[in-house]
Symmetry: C2
Subunit: 134 residues, 2 copies
Amino acid sequence: MMELTRKGEYAIRGIVYLAAQPPDRVCLLSDIAAAVDVPATFLAKIFQQFSKIGLVKSYRGTGGGFLLGRVPEKITLLEVVEAVEGPIIPNRCVVGVGECVRDVSCKVHPVWKRVQGQVREVLAGVTLKELSEV
Amino acid sequence: MMELTRKGEYAIRGIVYLAAQPPDRVCLLSDIAAAVDVPATFLAKIFQQFSKIGLVKSYRGTGGGFLLGRVPEKITLLEVVEAVEGPIIPNRCVVGVGECVRDVSCKVHPVWKRVQGQVREVLAGVTLKELSEV
DNA sequence: CCTAAAAGGATAAAAAATGTCTTGTTAGGG
DNA sequence: CCCTAACAAGACATTTTTTATCCTTTTAGG
């Protein structure tokens, strides 16, 4: 359980590749896809999601392509993962009070809350800089 | 992401209910299912998995039913979750060296390893006793 | 205006989750 | 010995999610 989907895996591969490029080097989606071995059409969707929240910048037309939205030190693995997989929610009941319809005093709730916190903490502590360094 | 499936949720509900019963009280599957609001046929599958690894004991025939396999203090949430959801593996590459075929020096690998460790630690620190107490 | 490149939407195939049904096995009681 | 209670096991069906692919649209450069 708790497995990252392929989408998440592809997302990490793709953006780590970008982070490893010289800054200001605009990369073609097709090149990235080939380099990290991900179907280009699928990676396109992923990068669209990145683009919407500013994790990457995109340019259309001739000479277009993708660029990291911020310096790699300022992008955490947590942001990348949540961008494509959605928020980290081990159990539905962590999303907010009142969700635990079954039991007003749900004892399991705080446990999942802790799990969520730990996972987020680990992922937030890793930046693309570290991941892209040789 | 990292969401517990319904099966996992049902599993917790069911076994916590058992843990809350007086020791030596044999419970019918149908009663448990009704009490925790889970389809009986589905819960049957879950309890079969529990039974195989000794988390619960089962008795057939008239007067049969289910009993906790050990005292609730000795059963952790980690065991319960892994019993039905399989091992906690945030990313395929944590299962062992050599799985990260894409990159010999995969930088993401140790991060997932840490995530796995943290999650397991939290879940291992909670027992059915605590979860079943009022 | 032609071509390059990403954006967006619709669709399809495959896999996993969720749930049901039928048959088999074990045990107790008349 | 047979009948019924109860779990075990396996096959099957349904729905949802994942994993794509394709086509059209938009944007930009030359």
